[in-house]
Structure formats: C-alpha cells, structure tokens
C-alpha cells in the first residue's frame, strides 16, 4: 500500500549491530539498487593457505629417464617385411573397393539411361498437360483481371452476347457450307448419271458393230480396267510412301547427322528418278529411233548408276563416321566418371543421339532395299506398259477418252471430299469453341453468386460500423460517465490519502513507543549484561570454529595414505615396464 522503494523506513533506523549488540537482531535495508544478480568474480578470491597444492611438490624425474631409448628401438623393429606386406595388402584392398564402387556407379548410370526414353514420353505427356493447363490459366487470368478491374456484370454479359452472336454467325456459315456440299453432291450424282447414259450410248453403238471388232473392243476394255486398277494401286502406294517419308523426315529433322544422310538419300532418289525418266525416254525413243539412241541412253544410265554407287559409298562413309562417333561415345563413357557431374548431361545427349542413329541405321538398309525394290518393280512395270503402249500406238487405234474424263471426275470428287473434310473440321472446332464459351458463362455465373455473398457481408459490416458510430455520437454521455469516474477516483484518492496519513501517524506513535521501550531496555542492567555475555559467546564460538577448522585441515594434510599409495602404484608400473623392456632383445 505504501508503494515505497525497498530501501524503506528500515534503512533509517539506527543499526544496533556494531555498537551495543542488541539482542533483537539487526535489520538492514538495501540501497535501492536494482537487483542485478550474477556479478561473478567481483569479489577477490581468497584462496591462500587452503589445503595444499600438489603441483608445487618436488618431482622425482630420474626414475622415468630410461624409457626414451627403448622407444626408438621398438620403432625400428616394427618396419620389417611383413609390415610392408600388410601395408601393400591394405592398399590393394582399398583399390579393389574403389573399383567395385566405380562399377556400381556405371551400372546405375546405364539404368538411368534406359529409363530416359520412358521419361521422354512422360515429358511429352506432361507438356501436353501443361499446355492445357496454361490455356485454363489464361481463361482464369482474364476472369481475375476482369474481377480486378471491376468490370460490371453487364460488360461481361455484353461480351458474352457478342460471342454468342459471333457463334451464331459461324453456325450460319457452317450451314451454308453444308448446303454447298449437298449441292456439290447432287452435281456429282448428275455427272454420274450422265456418265451412265454415255456408257449406255457407247454400248448401243458397240452393239451396232460387227463381232470381230466387238471382241477386240472387249479385250481392250479389259486391259483398260486392268490398267486403271494398277494405277489405283500405285496411287495408294505413293500415298503410303509419302506418309512414310513424312514420318521419316520428322525423325530426321531432330538430328543433323541424320539430316545429312537424308539429303544424300534424297539426292540418290533424285538421281534414280532421273534414271527412270531417262529410261522412259529410252523406251519411248527406242520405239521411235531404234538401238543407237538406246545405247546412248543406256550409257547415260550407267553413268548415273556410277553416281549412285558413289552416293552409296558416301553413305558407307557416313556409317563409318557414325561408328567413330560411337567409339568416341564409349570413350566418353569411360572418361565420364571423374567429371560425372559436368559431363553427365553431355553424355546423355550423345547416348540419345547414338540410339537414334542406331535405330535409323538399323532400319536404313531394309528401308532402302524395300524402296529400291519397289522402284525397280515400278520401273519394269512402266517399261512393260510403255512397250505395250508403243505397240498399241503402232496399230493406230484411237485412245480411249472415257478414262481421262473419269479421271477428271475422280479428281474433282477427291477435291470436293477434301473440302468437305475441311468444313467438317471447322464445324468441330466451332462446336468445341462453343462449349468453351458455355463453360465460361457458367464460371461467370458462379462468380456472380460469390460477389453477391460478399456484398451482403459488406452490408453487414456497414451496419455494424453504423452502430458503432451511433455509440460514438453519444459523446456527451461518454463524457459524463468519464467525469463521474474521475470524481469517484478523486474521492477514492482523497480517502486513501487520509487513510495513509492516519497510518503514518500510527506508525509514528508506534515508533516513539518502540524508541521509549528501547531506551528503557538500554537502561536495564541485565540487558547490558546479557549483551556482554552474548559477545563473549560469539567470541568463544568463533574460536571454537576456527580451531575445528584448523584441526580438520591439519588432519587432512597429515593424511599421507592416499598419496603414498598412488606413488607406490606408479612405481610398480614403472618397474614392470622397465622389466618388459629389458626382456625384449634388441633386433639389430
């Protein structure tokens, strides 16, 4: 209740300890220093004369002198043949361990490389996924942007409407395309009908012809059908080959070396085509101009063949180069261990390249053979057909025009079909886009509900704040209440002050009584006597204590048992060691 510093009133009291030896005890106060505890070492240490210090004792050094020489002798003894052998063995085992470790590492790396293909596939998948997700992210980002910019719902709806209209327009276009397609189909049907009619007319005309010519005509017709079938087959083949080429080219584009090989291959093909053309020339010219020209062309063909063989040689060179690369790869494989961290990626790249090359090389020969065979077949076929044609042309029979017409129609059909496919594709794309738009709309709707919820919460907040404002508006009341509180506090303070004053008075009264009593006591004779006795007792006790201490320390000091035992033990040890040393005969 006083709130006084700890020094307090106790400190002001006369301390009675030094002077008179009051029997009621002394009370000391602190000087108000904050209790910073933990000041170690501020006090001077009093370590004098306590116990005894072993370090100062005289040591007998002579007894231990003999050990030094023998240590040297032992050192020499150990390094004999067996010692070096064991060292060697130890090192050898270390080396074998290291080799095993390296082998293990190599195995691990090989496994990792095997896994690489699988990882690549996974990478492709992940890339696709990533693309999709990025698209979604873009959508969401635009949404968020719109939210951030606080575009109204109306704006979004307007946009939505625009997109809807666009969609409709595109739908219309699609419908137009559909109708066009139908028209085209109708046209095609008409054409087919016309063809049928023409055929019928032709048949009628044929019926008018006599039997010999009819037979001839039929045979020619059969031949024509055969040729058409052949042409179709070849078209199909060409398509297949084109696709194959495409895939192969895609493969090739990944790799430069392969590209070179591909270029060379292309050159070969070109040359072969040239050769084909020349052979065609030959066959055509042969039919017209006879064997001279033919020989000349054949020579050209031979030259071309020489060129082809040169190309093939080049190819073998490239293959050699590839094998060299492989060798280098294996070398790198071996070198890789020390610089694993740096060269691992390089090594992997090379290995991958090597694999690709290997696959290409493996398949290259078979593919090449296939293609060469096919080209040869085609060549022979063409030659045959040309021969036939030339023989036919010699007979001066008018060529059949119906086939070319059909061909044109067919091409037309193909073209139309392609177009139709395109329009179908665009229709699909449009449907997909429409679905996306619908999804967007759904998202927007969801967002709207969220925004509504937020709006209500904000309204609630506003209400709360308004209530608080009401409270604050009643400043007068608040002021009144604080005023009242203040008054009350003041009254309390006054009361407490009075209480304190009265307590002070009481304390003063009590202290005067205490002083009076003390004075009375001081005058008392028996008190003085008691004090004197107490002092005497204190003196006696002090003497007593110090004597006891003295006795204790002295008895401890004179207690030599432990030290003597220790010394005896060490002496025995020393002796034992000396004996051991003596028993070992010098080695050299």
């Amino acid at each position: 209740m006083y709130g006084k510093a700890p020094s307090g009133s106790f400190a002001n009291r006369p301390s009675s300890r030094a002077g008179l030896g009051s029997s009621w005890g002394n009370i000391r106060g602190t000087t108000g220093v904050p209790p910073q505890t933990g000041r170690l070492g501020a006090r001077p240490t009093t370590k004098m004369g306590l116990g005894f210090q072993v370090m100062d004792r005289p040591m007998t050094q002579q007894g231990l002198g003999g050990i030094k020489g023998s240590n040297q002798v032992r050192g020499r003894m150990i390094q004999d043949r067996t010692f070096f052998m064991s060292e060697l063995r130890h090192k050898v085992s270390l080396v074998t361990n290291e080799i095993n470790k390296l082998n293990n590492e190599i195995n691990v790396i090989e496994k990792e490389n095997e896994n690489y293909d699988a990882f690549e596939k996974k990478v492709d998948q992940s890339a696709n996924e990533l693309r999709e997700l990025q698209g979604q992210l873009g959508d969401l980002n635009t949404l968020v942007d719109k939210l951030n910019v606080d575009t109204d719902l109306e704006d979004i709806e307007r946009l939505y409407n625009q997109i809807k209209i666009k969609n409709q327009r595109e739908n219309n276009i699609l419908n137009d395309i559909f109708t066009q397609r139908q028209q085209k189909e109708n046209l095609i049907r008409d054409m087919e009908k016309k063809i049928e009619e023409e055929r019928k007319q032709a048949e009628e005309q044929l019926k008018k012809l006599d039997a010999d010519k009819l037979n001839e005509y039929y045979s020619f017709k059969e031949q024509n059908a055969q040729y058409i079938a052949e042409i179709q087959q070849k078209d199909q083949m060409i398509n297949e080959l084109n696709e194959k080429e495409k895939t192969l080219r895609e493969n090739l584009e990944k790799n430069q070396l392969k590209l070179k090989a591909y270029e060379n291959f292309m050159k070969i093909n070109e040359l072969k085509e040239k050769k084909e053309a020349l052979e065609e020339d030959i066959s055509s010219i042969e039919s017209k101009n006879g064997p001279e020209e033919r020989e000349r062309l054949l020579q050209k063909v031979k030259e071309d063949n020489v060129e082809i063989s040169g190309m093939e040689r080049k190819i073998t060179d490239l293959e050699e180069q590839i094998s060299k690369c492989k060798e280098r790869l294996s070398q790198l494989d071996m070198d890789i261990d020390p610089h694993q961290g740096e060269k691992n990626s390089k090594y992997e790249e090379l290995l991958k390249r090597d694999k690709d090359m290997q696959a290409f090389i493996d398949s290259f020969d078979s593919k090449k053979n296939e293609l060469v065979e096919k080209t040869n077949q085609i060549q022979t076929q063409i030659a045959e057909s040309l021969e036939k044609l030339s023989s036919l042309s010699k007979r001066d029979i008018p060529s059949y025009t119906g086939a070319s017409g059909l061909k044109e129609l067919k091409e037309d059909l193909q073209f139309k079909q392609k177009e139709m496919k395109n329009s179908e594709n665009t229709a699909d794309a449009l449907i997909i886009e429409r679905n996306q738009r619908l999804q967007d709309l759904e998202k927007v709707n969801q967002l709207e509900s969220k925004l509504n919820f937020e709006l209500t919460s904000l309204k609630n907040k506003i209400e709360k704040l308004n209530e608080d404002m009401e409270k604050i508006k009643n400043i007068d009341e608040l002021k009144k209440s604080t005023e009242e509180q203040k008054k009350k506090n003041k009254a309390d303070r006054q009361g407490l002050r009075e209480f304190r004053d009265s307590l002070k008075q009481e304390v003063a009264g009590l202290s005067t009584i205490y002083d009076g009593k003390k004075a009375q006591l001081q005058e008392n004779e028996t008190f003085a006597q008691l004090g004197a006795f107490e002092q005497k007792l204190r003196y006696q006790e002090s003497n007593n204590f110090h004597l006891k201490e003295y006795i204790q320390t002295k008895t401890l000091e004179s207690n030599y048992q432990a030290i003597s035992q220790e010394i005896l033990q060490s002496l025995e040890e020393c002796n034992g060691q000396i004996l051991k040393l003596m028993s070992i005969p010098p080695s050299c």
Binding site: M1, Y2, G3, P6, G8, F10, R17, G21, S23, W24, G25, N26, I27, R28, G29, T30, V33, P34, P35, Q36, T37, G38, R39, L40, G41, A42, R43, T45, T46, G51, E534, L537, R538, E541, S542, F545, H546, Q552, L556
Partner: protein
C-alpha cells in the same frame, strides 16, 4: 503483501527464513546474495538472534518484483526458544547444511520438524542448500544422498559455495519464482471465487 506503484510495477513481499546448524554458512550466503557477491568474511561471527536483509528480485518477462525479507537466524542452542516466533508468519524457507559436516545434514530433519510443528503444514515451500562445495576434499555428504533427501520433502536441491561465490543466487531466485507462481494461483482462485459468488 502486494503493492502497485505508479509505474504499474507490482511489488510482492515475502518473508524467507534460513535454518540450519550453526557455522554451515547461512550468514555467508545471505550476505553474499544481499551484497551481490561483494561481501564475504573468512572469520566466523556467530549470529545473535537474527539479521534481516531486504533484497528485491525481478521476475523475468513480467513487471513483478519480489521483495525478499531474508531472515538469517542465529541457530545456536541458546536461541532455540525464540526461533518459532520467526518461523510463525514466514512464507518461504531455506534449509542449509554443510557438505563437509555430516551432523549438519542429519540435523536437517530436526529443523524441518520444527517448521512443520509451528506452521502446521505438511508441505513446506522451501529449498535445500548444500554449502561449502569448494572443500571437495573434505566432502562427506554426496549429491545423490542430498537430492534424495530433498525430494522426499518436496524441496529443490541447490549446491553453493560462498567462498568461491558459486550459484549463490539460484536458490533465492527459485524461491522468488515460487512465491510469484503461488501468488498468481491464488489470484486466479480468488477471481474464480468472486465470479462464482456473483
């Protein structure tokens, strides 16, 4: 017991009594703690009746200061009759013994019994202090022994040396913390009671 000063600093006051055989180092410990480690006398001066020291101890992480009123009693036989009066209204106790003196250790039970008899409590809020650990050669009471003894009475055990000023403050800080936590508990109970009354 509690005072709130103007700076919002709470001062709690507690009476702490040191008991133990004469010459075990009660006065040495008390004086050393009170003077922050600057006063130590090699000479033995028997304590007559009692000495009182006031030492404020701050409780860390709080604005509370415990003012310890440390009563260093003279425990010589001729003052035995007065000791109960000092014990009566004490809240904290420190029992001190000399680790080189088996008698002072054995006599601890007598002092504890006296406190129990006077306060009427079975559980005494206090600590056990083994002093003079610098005299390791003369040591006759083992740490384990003393710890077991302290645990059986629910005391925390501390080892100190007034001569080398080692760990003198620890037992007093422990007592101050004990006083503070007791106060907090009582305050909580009081608040609970007053709430249930309403």
């Amino acid at each position: 017991m509690a005072t709130k000063s103007l700076t919002n600093k709470l001062i709690l006051r507690a009476k702490c009594v040191l008991l133990g055989n004469p010459a075990v180092g009660k006065s040495a410990i008390t004086q050393l703690f009170h003077s922050d480690g600057s006063q130590f006398s090699k000479n033995y001066s028997m304590t007559i009746h009692s000495e009182v020291y006031i030492k404020p101890v701050n409780i860390p992480d709080t604005s509370v200061t415990i003012e310890l009123f440390i009563y260093d009693l003279g425990c010589h036989e001729i003052f035995q009759d007065y000791i109960p009066k000092y014990i009566e209204d004490a809240t904290l106790f420190a029992f001190v013994f000399d680790v080189t003196n088996n008698d002072s250790f054995k006599n601890l039970t007598k002092w504890i019994q006296m406190v129990r008899k006077v306060t009427g409590k079975k559980v005494i809020p206090g600590v056990l202090i083994g002093n003079k650990i610098d005299l390791s050669l003369r040591r006759s009471v083992s740490v384990q022994h003393a710890e077991e003894f302290a645990n059986s009475y629910g005391f925390e055990y501390f080892e100190t040396s007034a001569l080398s000023n080692t760990d003198i403050e620890d037992p007093f800080h422990f007592l101050a913390n004990m006083c503070h936590s007791n106060y907090e508990e009582q305050l909580k109970e009081f608040i609970k009671d007053s709430q249930t009354l309403i």
